[in-house]
Symmetry: C2
Subunit: 100 residues, 2 copies
């Protein structure tokens, strides 16, 4: 496990990449669960119906697109929604997605 996973800066965000990230139902569900919660969530604590390794893949896609920030606490990896950064880069996008 990389100690410090790569996270893009806000200036590096790309709409195409963000759209490709949230178009997947599993990933969009992850984003919505983070948005609905008032705390960061461990990878293993999400309500998703895919295998562990598949989840890892989805988290990576979300992280590289700039949607989430990941950090370790012990053996667990916590996930945080980068709401402020996203609102800066694409105002209104996250809110528009919360609907569905």
């Amino acid at each position: 496990m990389a100690r410090a996973p790569q996270h893009p800066e806000v200036s590096e965000f790309e709409l195409q990449q963000v759209l490709e990230a949230i178009v997947d139902p599993v990933r969009r569900s992850i984003v919505q669960q983070l948005d609905a919660a008032d705390h960061d969530i461990k990878c293993g604590d999400f309500d998703i119906a895919v295998h562990k390794s598949t989840a890892t893949h989805h988290f990576k896609v979300l992280r590289e697109a700039g949607l989430i920030r990941q950090y370790y606490v012990g053996t667990s990896r916590l996930n945080a929604l980068r709401r402020d950064d996203l609102d800066k880069a694409f105002p209104g996008l996250l809110d528009a997605l919360a609907v569905g």
Copy 2:
């Protein structure tokens, strides 16, 4: 050519389908060109780099998702952005996409 192509009602719009429609760069470009223009646009008049038959496919995806409305004028098919309907179903979504 079907005289009257199928268009979904606003109540039938589905976010997942809309996202799948706009995630494709060619289709998103079509939507943006319609949004930027103050008039409807013929299929053949879009600035896209794909074959005619591929374009037909993209227009169909956009139409079935509810993003555009199509109607014939002679041998030409005109395309209109369903902005009002989309704003009703997914407020803020179209505006958020106009950025990129």
